[in-house]
């Protein structure tokens, strides 16, 4: 059996002890040992963005992050934003705009978008596109995603 060690991770505000291989990536630990399935393995190379998580407030690739390095850091996945107004607005607009098709990229997109809107009181369309350039989508062609984020930005500003 693969040797596991006990790691203390702070996920979505809650400190948890997880048994996970010492050299596991965060993607593996989250999916296999913590039952967090919203992070997806699209490439395991850090290119597609489906594995995006927020580490200390910044979007990173969970497939390239060693879980062992995350001890003591603040880790968030989409599940951690249930009470967040910006995220609620983003979800609502993305749901309506046509920006969700197969949905595989969606969690990563929402996390990248939320981070951008949370730190930018004056978001721009170009800024949104830059914030999302690390989230590949093969279905939508991006316009409906970018529109949804811009619409959420307007709503949040109010």
């Amino acid at each position: 059996m693969t040797k596991k060690t006990l790691l203390t991770l702070t996920l979505n505000g809650e400190e948890t002890d997880v048994a996970t291989p010492m050299d596991a990536t965060l993607l593996e630990t989250l999916r296999e040992d913590m039952g967090v399935l919203s992070v997806k393995r699209g490439c395991n190379q850090g290119v597609c963005g489906s594995c995006t998580v927020i580490l200390d407030g910044e979007p990173v690739r969970s497939c390239l992050t060693l879980s062992a390095r995350c001890k003591g850091h603040d880790l968030r996945t989409i599940e951690g934003y249930e009470a967040d107004d910006i995220m609620a607005s983003l979800k609502q607009h993305l749901t309506q705009s046509g920006g969700i098709q197969c949905g595989f990229c969606t969690s990563g997109v929402l996390l990248s978008a939320q981070t951008y809107l949370a730190e930018n009181p004056h978001p721009t369309r170009d800024g949104v596109k830059s914030a999302l350039s690390g989230n590949l989508c093969r279905c939508t062609g991006y316009r409906t995603i970018v529109d949804a984020v811009c619409d959420a930005a307007v709503e949040v500003a109010r």
Binding site: T25, N44, E58, V60, T65
Partner: protein
């Protein structure tokens, strides 16, 4: 199973690497973990450099601007100290991949990996940066321009790590980085880092050989003749003669050679316009 060792000082890291020949230093993980995931490397240990204070941060020093090896691309891309002649480095950092990768990748990691198509090395070569290495025999400095010795091979000896990259103090000059790539954030098909200092330019070409291509003698010959297109073309020819491009999925060697003079002329035009403005 790879074990993870997290030293608190450069010395601890060096000692551990010396004692464990199958251990690999781990900077941001953007490259190393990707390679591990693809089954391309197997290490007994990852020596994580993330807790070593001396490797962090960008600071003004007597020599210029010192960028710690663990400085993330994002920090470099947002650093106000990198102005004028150093703006080219900041621009290059901002064009690497995308935001999440820039949150993870480090200058030390990128420089050590020496991917011929990556963005830092031509920009650093253009500004005459110096790489500081630390190893069992102590610390030493290597100019970026001689740091890359062959395809994916650097001046790093067994057991050495990059601890900082030092740039000369910024001068009030124009500089810019341009990369030709298939999509936003892709590695460069070819790139050009260019700085203009009154009557001469410094140019480093990327992705056209194992390391960045620069020719200071040719730059000196060009001094005072920037307005002469033939002189610029001859200058570009010198750089092309030093280039050793390959055919790969991003483009052919021929295309890269064709781009060298075009990027230089275009870069010069762009800077002349900026000068006038």
């Amino acid at each position: 199973m790879t074990e993870i060792y997290t030293p608190k000082s450069i010395q601890e890291a060096i000692s551990f690497l010396a004692a464990h020949p199958d251990a690999r230093p781990l900077a941001g993980g953007a490259t190393l973990i990707a390679m591990r995931n693809a089954g391309l490397i197997e290490a007994s240990h990852f020596v994580s450099l993330s807790e070593i204070g001396e490797l962090q941060g960008i600071a003004k020093t007597g020599e210029g601007i010192r960028i710690g090896a663990m400085t993330r691309h994002r920090e470099t891309a947002e650093c106000d100290l990198l102005t004028g002649s150093l703006a080219v480095v900041r621009q290059a950092a901002g064009m690497i991949a995308n935001r999440p990768v820039r949150n993870m990748g480090t200058m030390g990691g990128a420089v050590s990996n020496a991917d011929p198509a990556a963005d830092y090395l031509p920009a650093l070569a253009c500004v005459d940066a110096v790489v500081t290495l630390a190893g069992p025999d102590g610390q030493r400095d290597v100019p970026v321009r001689t740091f890359v010795q062959d395809w994916y091979e650097t001046a790093l000896d067994e057991g050495e790590i990059v601890i900082a990259i030092t740039l000369p103090a910024p001068r009030n000059e124009l500089s810019l980085y341009r990369k030709v790539a298939r999509v936003t954030g892709d590695y460069a098909t070819a790139s050009c880092a260019i700085a203009m200092d009154g009557d001469t330019i410094r140019v480093a070409i990327g992705a056209c050989g194992p390391g960045p291509i620069r020719d200071t003698e040719a730059e000196e010959t060009l001094r005072g003749h920037l307005a002469n297109p033939e002189a610029v073309t001859a200058f570009a020819g010198q750089l092309a003669a030093l280039a050793d491009p390959i055919d790969d999925v991003r483009g052919s060697a021929e295309y890269r050679l064709a781009l060298i003079p075009r990027l230089i002329h275009a870069g010069l035009r762009q800077m002349k316009l900026a000068e006038v403005a």
